[in-house]
Amino acid sequence: MSRRPGFVLEVDRSAPPTLVWSGEGFGLETLPEGSRVIYAPEPVKALDDPYAAIRHALLHPVGDRDPLPALLRPGMKLTICFDDVSLPLPPMESPDVRQMVIETVLDMAAEAGVDDVVLVAALALHRRMTEEELRHALGDRVYDAFAPHGLLTQHDAEDPDNLLFIGETDEGEEVEINKRAATSDLLVYVNVNLVAMDGGHKSVATGLASYRSLRHHHNPHTMRHSKSFMDQPASELHSANWRMGRLIAEAGVKVFQIETTLNNDTFPPAFEFLQKREWEWTLRDRAKYLGVSTALAKTPPRLARQVLHGIRAPHALTSVQAGEVEAVHARTLEHVWAQQGVEVEGQTDILTMGLPYICPYNVNSIMNPILVACLGLGYFFNMYRGKPLVREGGVVIMWHPTRPEFHPGHHPSYIDFYEQVLTETIDPTRMHKEFEESFATDPWYVHLYRTGHAYHGVHPFYMWYWCAHALAHVGRVIVVGGDARAVRRLGFSPASSLDDALEIAADVVGPSPTLTHVHNPPLFMADVH
């Protein structure tokens, strides 16, 4: 059977209840008649031979680039950078696409006699990856060949000795990136493009940048003017990154960009029902649902989290393109849209979304309240092109337990952000002006970021800025099933049930609102007309 495109269901009396995620669990919700439910397109067929496709891409680059073997020579300095643990979600089954690409690149480098090769995890201000995570992303063969010799590194945005100031863009944006990468004869960037936001100039200009550089686009103003940041031409975030990327290229940094796209095959067979349309659930799907949802409901959240973070997605490679950054990225976006695009007619008064247990910043970690806001208002809200799914002044209803729990090792500054900043203000502009600098330069946070596995001190601010567009756009945010105090701390309204939430929403959107539910994951991008 051929792959089915995305689908917008008009809920009627005969429509079964809809699966809704809520953190480390999920349930079935009966949406009001007349509601719409948007389902992602079915997975694009995987490439038959990923290694052959990668090799072909490296030998036939797009844009103004020679084939990779022609760029490799003895005595050269080669740096291979790669996306970090935040992609893809959930982490994919082995072999990870980064492993496949990097192994192919290293084969060519070895053949060309290149000795000076360093691998850099492009963390930006994310936490450092653990050995397990690096081994999963790169494979044991790569890890064991490079890590013991100190040649597998993780970008340190606070290491003055390994940062190079490139210059300023026409808009006055300072560009400072990883020195090893910037001074290499060739910088090969290996990207995983799970959503349209990833890749392009953002890979190097953000992934290898310092706080000094990042603050020029990771701020409330930029994020409010990125409509959305999943739509590159309409994204101020990307405009800034493109200016920086072009400056980096003009400065002589030779980037050979390799971008990959994955299909949205998100869950392994045991959890496959999570990505099926409910009316197509078989007896086995229903049995699995009952078994898994009941077990998760009775399992302590900590244990449930461990189980769910153990899920490995059967994502498969659907395309790989290599060469000059912008030419490569244009092709990548075509593939991303082919997988994720769903045509949607018109906006809605109420947008509902169930938030799962994982977002890019809590892989093998805890989804704290700030990340809950970021996943719902930052990511899911922004998964559109054209117009937001919800009208201006509308309501967003999210399901999540929103427990005030934090991973002290991964998110130390989040704890203080939650206790010190959110108690003062939820206005991104005010917190940017009054609090950001102190968090960003706090020596303790810097120390934890550089030596432990902590996100940078400024990271919770960025997560809040990620919500800036949605916060300015919607009239109210309601969290169903969330910890009431934590939800209120975020400036949202708690609700005990969907009916409760709809009653609260009626104050904003009237008694007979339209409602649209995004059936994420698998992820999709709404092309709203």
Partner: protein, 329 residues
């Protein structure tokens, strides 16, 4: 007893009241139903039913449950077994068809050398339309799905492969149970397979099975317009009644005989066996002999060309009075 019935009733009510996800999901009215992924009907994979553990289990059930039950419910008079003693399998059993009980009664009355190595051609649209039915019939009868409404190459290939593999085949050339008790014209499936595989056809006549398990009105049938409301409700119930199973001599197509002509010969052979039930071997053969033929004898098993009540009237009489006159003239 009352308590258990009450419990069963509550259970049934609970099952009926179950909602998604305990019950199957309803289908949104705005969504077109796709063609179901076919894993039943002709697409059902029945290969498992011929593996040795399954064959062993089936043989145990057949010999220890089905045969005693058949003797109890439908004591059989079996004639013509001597024909089977001299034929080397595999063979194709071509049998008239009046009741769902035909297949188990035929299988349980086959000699042991055939009984456990026989598959049954069953209508794919009836016996294999649901997964559970496919499993039940594949196991119980070693049934294989065939297309009965039209000639289907796949059905024929499957049957031919099994015959080539040494399996005997039971086929009902009428393509379905007789609607009124009279034999329907034979279709060419059995004859075609005989020509294709070179294996003989053994004509079989089953008598009296429609009294054991009468054909019931289909649940989907609309009530007959103008019905009196006194239509029989006894269809589909098992009743004890004696039966007769008659095997004819194995038949092979002549070298220049096509499947159609051969099929007519097979049908005539079954008709002769039918006459034998009420007369004897000699009279049955004399009726269609070239020396003293009786007019229309070769088609007598199809009943008179008359109104439904006259056809019903002309059928064999109830078991109590059976034998009072020749059948079916």
């Amino acid at each position: 007893m009352a308590g258990s019935r009450f419990g069963a009733g509550r259970l049934t009510a609970a099952v009926r009241a179950a909602r998604f996800p305990l019950a199957a999901p309803s289908w949104p009215a705005s969504v077109d139903r796709p063609d179901p992924e076919r894993k039943v009907g002709l697409d059902y994979d029945h290969e498992w039913s011929r593996r040795y553990p399954v064959r062993l289990a089936r043989a145990v059930v057949m010999d220890n449950v089905a045969r005693p039950a058949a003797r109890l419910v439908a004591p059989a008079t079996v004639r013509g077994l001597e024909h089977l003693h001299h034929v080397e399998g595999p063979v194709i059993f071509a049998c008239n068809h009046a009741s769902h009980i035909d297949t188990p009664l035929l299988l349980t009355n086959l000699p042991v050398e055939f009984r456990h190595k026989t598959v049954v051609a069953a209508a794919s649209d009836y016996f294999f339309d649901r997964t559970w039915k496919s499993i039940v019939w594949s196991f119980a009868l070693a049934a294989i799905p065939i297309e009965r409404s039209k000639v289907n190459r796949r059905s024929a290939d499957t049957a031919a492969e099994l015959i080539a593999d040494g399996w005997n085949l039971v086929i009902f050339p009428e393509g379905g149970r007789s609607p009124d008790g009279w034999t329907q014209p034979f279709r060419g499936g059995a004859a075609y397979l005989a020509r294709r595989t070179g294996r003989p056809v053994v004509p079989v006549y089953l008598h009296g099975t429609r009294h054991v398990l009468p054909k019931s009105a289909s649940a989907t049938d609309d009530p007959a317009p103008g019905g009196s409301g006194t239509e029989s409700q006894r269809g589909g119930r098992l009743r004890r009644s004696p039966i007769a199973v008659l095997f004819g001599p194995p038949m092979r197509p002549d070298p220049d005989e096509n499947a159609h002509r051969f099929s007519e010969r097979v049908e005539a052979a079954v008709a002769t066996l039918a006459r034998e039930v009420h007369t004897d071997w000699w009279q049955a053969r004399r009726a269609v002999s070239a020396v003293a033929p009786q007019p229309g004898a070769e088609r007598a098993h199809r009943g008179p060309q008359a109104s439904p009540w006259r056809r019903a009237w002309a059928l064999d009489e109830p078991p109590a009075r059976r034998g009072a006159k020749d059948w079916p003239a």
